[in-house]
Each structure stands twice: as structure tokens, then as C-alpha cells.
């Protein structure tokens, strides 16, 4: 590799790393507890709840919805979701169907009796704070897009680091850590080794993180492009005043999708539906398909089944990006692996800063051409 090429990649590596490091440190630190959010929630909220009628018949969804709305007079339903391992239905309501997150209210109900299920919310504020900081810096969409840009810089930093790894390692065997040399060289060797052995994971988490920051634009695009034909006939008409039976709509959707299971319902006007439809979201039953959701749309005024709308590939990519980013999909061992890799990334960020600071103070020559590094150019921030 020519000296000019190395300088160019070194410049890219230095500046992309320096700009994003603080934010990446925050993301790595806040990401650690998020890997174990299920375990933390379970530990803080031991589930002592039992249904009123264990094994009893479930109320139909219209009854449960009516109960939920009785608890929140003046509000409208936004989402309804279903616990997997217990007969519990969760209803999200708000002043309007399009209300933002902070104005939404979430409550859980015993599907056998309609009784309120005590919220498992010990520690919820802390986890919510961490998730919000990790997701959008409490700034909503601008915060998400900003973090997405930081993620893009991070990916560039990783790619440039891989490019610079080649001239650096040309004369060194894989896995070299020169323990008998200066602290700076030792740190540099560790930086290179840890960076190159974790590069696949780092790129997966980085790229899926970028995709996740585009969630809102992706969902909006799906609605306006893929559902446009459903929305068009209604023009500017107001949503139906009387909704048809939710239970019948869900039953119809489930019947039309053999091999799929109910995941949640988005009510008319909510972020995941049109202003005139129940969007009944279903997912597959196999490990490969359970994260791919497919909405079935039912006219909320007439009950007419509009059909299943398979998500386009870019929405499926978003669905798969969530587990691949948070690492909460493969059991405890994968979570432990994820944690170790996250900690290594923190180490990489810190050593990168250290190497940049030391080099800046020592005013060493360009990477790979100074007497201290003879025969070894430096992929770390210079």
C-alpha cells in the first residue's frame, strides 16, 4: 500500500473515530444492561400473579377492549398485544390514536376475567431511561437520526481500521502482542488484535443499529407506499365512528393466515395502521419466521377483510435488525458472548483515544514510518 493511501485511510480512521467515540461509548455502556433486560425485569418483578380462572375460557377481545376503555375514559385504543406465556392482554390507549409515546397509557388485563394485572414496573423507569438514552438521546427522531449518523461514522472507522490492519500486520504474525515493548506498542497491538477478531460482530451491531435508527422513516414509507391503495379510497374521510367487532376482525385475520400466530393489533389511526383499518399483525411459528411480521388489514367500519400485506424486504430487514442489534435472541450464552464483545468494543474505543493522545503528544511521524514503529504502520487513531 502506498504511503499516500495509508495516510488517507489513517485520516479517515482518525476523524471518524474521534467524532463518534463519545457517543459510541455511551451506546456501548447503555447497551450492556439492555442485553439482559428480560433477566433484569424478571429479577426485579418476580411473577406471583395468577389468572382469576386458570385454564378458564378467555373473554372475547371486544369485552376486554371495553374493560380497558372503562379504565381510561375519554381515551381511544392504540395497540393491543398478547403475552405469550400467560393469559394476559395488554392495551395501549391515548388521547388520540396518533398520540406520541409519552402520552400513551399501557395496562394489562386478565384475559379470563378482565381484571387489571398489576404492572411489573419495578426498575422500569431506570430501564426506560437507559433505552431512551440509547435510542434517541431523548430527542425523538432527530436524536435517532443523529445516532444513526454516528453509527455510520463508526462503521467507516471500522472499515478503515481493517484497511490499515494490512500494512501494520505485514511483518507480524496474527495475534502478535509485543509485551516486551513500550506500553503504547502493547496497547496498539491489543487494539489491532481485538479490533480484527471482533470486526464481524462490530459491523453487524453497527449496521443493524443504523437500520434501527431509521425505524420511523421506514414505517412511514411502508404506510404511504405499500398501503397507499388502501388509504386512497378513503381520501380525507374521518375514521369510522363505530368500529366493527375487533374479535371478529382478529378471528378472520388469523383464519386467513394458516401457520401464523397473532402478535398484536394496531387500531385505526395508530402509527402502524391506516385511519380506517385494524392492522392485525401475525408472525410465523418457526425460529426463522417468528420475527417476520405480516399485517392483515380489516376495514374497521365494515369488517371487510382487505388481505394480508407481506412486508417489503426493507421492513423485514428492520424486523431482523432489532434482535441482531440487541443480542437478546439466542439464549443466555449468546448474551454473555454479546456482553464480552461489548466490553471489548469499549476497550477498543478507550485504547483508540489513548493511542491518539499519546501519538499527538509525542508528535510521532506518520503511521508506519517512525523509528519507534519501524516496519509497523499504525491503524489506530493517529
Amino acid at each position: 500500500m502506498k504511503q499516500d493511501t495509508i495516510r488517507t485511510w489513517g485520516w479517515i480512521h482518525k476523524w471518524t473515530s474521534l467524532v463518534c467515540t463519545v457517543f459510541l461509548l455511551m451506546l456501548c455502556l447503555t447497551g450492556l444492561p439492555l442485553i439482559f433486560h428480560d433477566e433484569i425485569d424478571a429479577a426485579l418483578n418476580p411473577d406471583a400473579w395468577t389468572p382469576a380462572k386458570p385454564g378458564g375460557e378467555r373473554l372475547d377481545l371486544d369485552e376486554l377492549l371495553a374493560v380497558a376503555l372503562d379504565h381510561r375514559p375519554g381515551e381511544v385504543p392504540i395497540f393491543m398485544s398478547f403475552d405469550i406465556d400467560r393469559p394476559v392482554v395488554n392495551v395501549t390507549t391515548g388521547p388520540t390514536a396518533g398520540a406520541p409515546g409519552p402520552e400513551m397509557h399501557f395496562a394489562s388485563f386478565d384475559a379470563t376475567s378482565g381484571d387489571l394485572v398489576p404492572p411489573a414496573d419495578v426498575g422500569e423507569d431506570v430501564m426506560h431511561f437507559i433505552l431512551q438514552l440509547h435510542t434517541d438521546l431523548f430527542l425523538g427522531l432527530p436524536g435517532m437520526l443523529f445516532l444513526g449518523f454516528m453509527g455510520l461514522l463508526f462503521v467507516l472507522s471500522v472499515v478503515s481500521g481493517v484497511v490499515l490492519y494490512a500494512p501494520f500486520m505485514r511483518k507480524l504474525p496474527f495475534g502478535t502482542v509485543r509485551r516486551d515493548r513500550t506500553r503504547r506498542l502493547r496497547w496498539l497491538d491489543w487494539h489491532n488484535l481485538l479490533g480484527i477478531v471482533t470486526v464481524a460482530w462490530v459491523l453487524v451491531v453497527g449496521v443493524t443499529g443504523i437500520i434501527n435508527t431509521l425505524e420511523q422513516p421506514i414505517i412511514d414509507t411502508w404506510k404511504y407506499r405499500e398501503l397507499a391503495d388502501l388509504v386512497a379510497p378513503y381520501g380525507d374521510q374521518a375514521p369510522p365512528e363505530q368500529f366493527t367487532s375487533l374479535d371478529a376482525a382478529v378471528a378472520r385475520a388469523v383464519a386467513e393466515a394458516p401457520g401464523m400466530e397473532l402478535q398484536f393489533v394496531a387500531f385505526p389511526g395508530s402509527g402502524f395502521s391506516t385511519s380506517h383499518h385494524y392492522a392485525v399483525f401475525l408472525h410465523g411459528r418457526t425460529p426463522a419466521t417468528e420475527r417476520i411480521i405480516t399485517p392483515a388489514l380489516v376495514d374497521a367500519g365494515t369488517g371487510h377483510f382487505e388481505g394480508l400485506r407481506e412486508m417489503p424486504w426493507w421492513v423485514k430487514a428492520l424486523s431482523l435488525s432489532r434482535p441482531l442489534h440487541f443480542g437478546d435472541y439466542g439464549g443466555l450464552l449468546l448474551k454473555i458472548v454479546w456482553t464480552q464483545l461489548d466490553i471489548i468494543t469499549i476497550y477498543l474505543l478507550v485504547t483508540g483515544l489513548y493511542l491518539w493522545w499519546k501519538k499527538r503528544r509525542q508528535a510521532l511521524p506518520p503511521p508506519g514510518f517512525g523509528p519507534a514503529d519501524r516496519g509497523a504502520s499504525e491503524p489506530g487513531p493517529s
Binding site: F174, L193, V197, V199, A200, P287, L320, L333
Partner: protein, 58 residues
């Protein structure tokens, strides 16, 4: 040590680790049960190199 290590010699081991790790990450997404353990170990194969580097004698 050969002073002119080819690109393959520089990137061979990292490439194999990367492919194995990537395969493990995706495999864990597609399977359930005990085989998850194997997928998780593959995803974390880079950690084995780190551990080996830590414990080996200079």
C-alpha cells in the same frame, strides 16, 4: 517471519474468524434449543483468540 506476507496471510485468520462469527450470529437467529449453544460459541469465536493471547507465554 516472511517480510512480504501476502494479503491472504494477513487476513486469512481474521477472515475465517469473521465468517464463523457471522455464521453463528445468523444461525442463532434461525434455530432454537440446544443448538443455540453451538451457534453462540461460533458467534463468540473471536473471544477464544483473545483468551489464547492472554494466557500464552510471550
Amino acid at each position: 517471519m516472511n517480510a512480504r506476507r501476502s494479503l491472504w496471510r494477513v487476513f486469512g485468520a481474521p477472515l475465517l474468524l469473521g465468517i464463523l462469527s457471522l455464521a453463528g450470529l445468523i444461525w442463532a437467529l434461525l434455530v432454537e434449543g440446544p443448538v443455540d449453544l453451538v451457534a453462540s460459541l461460533a458467534a463468540g469465536c473471536g473471544l477464544a483468540v483473545v483468551a489464547w493471547t492472554l494466557v500464552r507465554r510471550p
